[in-house]
C-alpha cells in the first residue's frame, strides 16, 4: 500500500514544487493562477467556510446516493422478478441516459427549488443508472448449476433468490455503487452551479466571480478528498459485507 502510493506522491510533490517556482518566476497574477503556498494559506484561513460548504455537498451526495441505491436496487429486483417490467422499463432507463444531467438541471431546480432536494435528485439521477444496470446483471448472472442445485433440493423461488441470486449479485451491486459514488459529485456540483445558496459548487462560483482563485483551488481539493473518501467508504463496506471476497481475489 505505502509503496503503491510512493510514486504518485513523488510525482505530485515535484509538480507542486514546479508550479510554485513557475508562479514566482513568471510573476503570474494570483487572480489567474495562485501559487500552491497561497492555496495552502487559503486552506488554513478559510477552513471553517470550506468545511461548512463541504458538509452541505456531502449531505447532498449521501442522500442522493441512498435514494438512487434504494430505487435502483428495488427496480432491478422488480425487473428481474417480472419480465414485463424489464421489457417496459429497461429501454427507457437506457434511453434516459442520452439526456445529459446538465440539460435538465435548470428544470430540476425549478421543480425542487434552490435547497437540498434539487441537488439530491440530480445526484440520484446520475448514480441510479450504474446501480440498476449492474444489479440486474448480477441477479441474472447467477450460476445456472448452482440454481439447479437448489431446484433439485425443491427450494422455492424465494430460497433460490436469497440463497443464490442475491449473494452472487452482491459483487455486481458493489461495482455499480463504486461507479455511482465516483460520479455522484458531478450531480451535486452541477445542481449547485445551476442554483443554490450553499455547497462547494456554490462556493466555487462565488469565488470565481470575486476572482478568489485560490479559494476555487481549495474547494477543488476538498471536493477531491470528499470523492476519494466516499469511494473508499464503499470499498470498505464491500469488504465488510463480503468477507469471502478477499480469498477469491487471492486465488
Amino acid at each position: 500500500m505505502t509503496k503503491r502510493l510512493l510514486y504518485p506522491a513523488i510525482l505530485l510533490t515535484l509538480f507542486v514544487i514546479f508550479w510554485e517556482l513557475m508562479v514566482w518566476q513568471f510573476q503570474v497574477p494570483r487572480y489567474i493562477l495562485p501559487a500552491p503556498s497561497r492555496i495552502l494559506q487559503t486552506l488554513t484561513l478559510q477552513q471553517s467556510l470550506l468545511l461548512h460548504h463541504t458538509f452541505i455537498t456531502l449531505k447532498e451526495i449521501i442522500a442522493g446516493f441512498l435514494l438512487a441505491f434504494v430505487v435502483g436496487v428495488g427496480l432491478a429486483f422488480l425487473m428481474f422478478q417480472f419480465p414485463v417490467l424489464e421489457k417496459s422499463f429497461y429501454p427507457i432507463v437506457i434511453g434516459s441516459q442520452t439526456i445529459p444531467v446538465f440539460a435538465i438541471a435548470p428544470l430540476l431546480v425549478l421543480w425542487f427549488g434552490y435547497g437540498l432536494s434539487s441537488k439530491v435528485v440530480m445526484a440520484a439521477l446520475i448514480v441510479f443508472f450504474p446501480i440498476v444496470v449492474n444489479t440486474l446483471d448480477g441477479l441474472k448472472g447467477a450460476d445456472a448449476d448452482s440454481v439447479n442445485l437448489l431446484r433439485i433440493l425443491r427450494a422455492n423461488r424465494w430460497q433460490i433468490l436469497w440463497k443464490v441470486r442475491v449473494p452472487s449479485a452482491l459483487p455486481f451491486v458493489f461495482s455499480g455503487c463504486k461507479i455511482g459514488i465516483s460520479v455522484s459529485t458531478i450531480g451535486a456540483i452541477i445542481g449547485e452551479w445551476v442554483g443554490s445558496k450553499e455547497g462547494l459548487g456554490y462556493l466555487m462560483l462565488h469565488a470565481n466571480a470575486q476572482l478568489q482563485i485560490s479559494l476555487i483551488f481549495a474547494s477543488l481539493l476538498y471536493l477531491t478528498v470528499l470523492g476519494v473518501g466516499l469511494f473508499y467508504l464503499v470499498v470498505f463496506m464491500e469488504r465488510w459485507v463480503m468477507p469471502w471476497k478477499r480469498f477469491s481475489e487471492a486465488r
Binding site: 442445485l149 437448489l150 433439485i152 433440493l153 425443491r154 469471502w244
Partner: protein
C-alpha cells in the same frame, strides 16, 4: 445380457424404463438417449460407464427432473414418479460450493432448504467433515481450500441432502490421479457405512471396477445400454488382481468399440 422391462427385479430402489430424449437442433431432431433401461437395488453401487459425450449427464438431468424426457418411466422406491426432483441427491464434477458460505454452511445447504437444521444435523455435518479430513475447516471459505478438499466438502453436502439415492456425475473427473484415489476410498468407506444407493456416472473404467457392484456400459450417442456387468470381486479390490485385470480388458474392448464407432 441387456435388461428389458420384464426382467427388472421387484426390489429395485430406482428403476428407469425405456428413457428417451432427443434435442431438436436446426429443425431436425438429435436423439441423445435412444432407450435406457436400468435399475439399482437398495444399497447397491452402480456405475454407468460410457464414452465421453454419450449423454450420461443428460440421463441424470432427466432423472432429477431438470430436463423433460420424451418418454419412459422412472420409479423410485417402487413408485412411478414424474421425476426424481426432491427424492435424489445429485453431485457434479463442479463442486458448486457457494463462495459466500463457510464450509459448514455449505454442507448444511440441504437441511437448511428443508428447514431441518438442528443440533443433530449440525453434529452429523461436523462428524462427516472430520471423517473426510476436513476437521477444523468448518469456518473457512471454499476459496481457501484445495480442489480436493472442496470436492470432499461437496461430497459431505451431498450426503447431508439426506436422500437414499445419490446420483454422482463424474464427481472426481477434475481431480488428479492421487486425489481421485483418495476420494474413491472415502466414497467407498461412506457408502459401506450409510448403505445409500449410488449411481455413478464415469468414463474411468478403473473407477467403475474399483467401486461398483454392477456396471452398465452405454453405447455412443444415441445412448442405450450395451451391456450390464456384475463385478463379483471382493472388496477391497486391487487393480492388480487377475479378475480385475480381466474385467478391465473386457470393458476396455467394449468402450473402444463404441469410441471407434463414433469416429468412423
Amino acid at each position: 445380457m441387456r435388461k428389458t422391462e420384464a426382467s427388472l427385479p421387484r426390489d429395485s430402489e430406482l428403476s428407469l424404463r425405456e428413457i428417451k430424449k432427443s434435442y431438436s437442433k436446426d429443425g431436425s431432431s438429435l436423439p441423445v438417449l435412444l432407450d435406457i433401461s436400468l435399475f439399482a437395488r437398495q444399497g447397491e453401487f452402480i456405475s454407468i460407464l460410457g464414452p465421453s459425450g454419450c449423454g450420461k449427464s443428460t440421463l441424470f438431468n432427466v432423472v432429477v427432473g431438470l430436463i423433460q424426457r420424451d418418454g419412459g418411466i422412472i420409479s423410485i422406491e417402487y413408485r412411478e414418479v414424474e421425476n426424481g426432483l426432491g427424492d435424489v441427491a445429485y453431485m457434479q464434477q463442479k463442486d458448486l460450493l457457494f463462495p459466500w458460505r463457510t464450509i459448514l454452511q455449505n454442507v448444511l445447504l440441504g437441511p437448511e432448504i428443508s428447514r431441518s437444521v438442528n443440533k443433530g444435523t449440525q453434529r452429523e455435518a461436523v462428524d462427516l467433515m472430520n471423517r473426510v479430513g476436513l476437521k477444523g475447516f468448518e469456518g473457512n471459505y471454499p476459496d481457501e481450500l484445495s480442489i480436493g478438499m472442496r470436492q470432499r466438502a461437496a461430497l459431505v453436502r451431498t450426503l447431508l441432502f439426506q436422500k437414499d439415492i445419490l446420483l454422482l456425475d463424474e464427481p472426481f473427473g477434475a481431480l488428479d490421479a492421487m486425489t481421485r484415489s483418495v476420494m474413491q476410498r472415502i466414497l467407498l468407506d461412506l457408502w459401506m457405512d450409510y448403505r445409500k444407493t449410488i449411481l455413478l456416472v464415469t468414463h474411468d473404467i478403473e473407477e467403475a471396477l474399483l467401486l461398483s457392484d454392477r456396471i452398465y456400459v452405454l453405447t455412443a450417442r444415441p445412448a442405450t445400454v450395451k451391456e450390464e456387468i456384475s463385478v463379483d470381486i471382493a472388496r477391497p479390490r486391487k487393480v492388480t488382481d487377475s479378475s480385475f485385470v480381466d474385467l478391465k480388458g473386457i470393458l476396455l474392448d467394449m468402450l473402444q468399440g463404441e469410441i471407434e464407432r463414433v469416429f468412423t
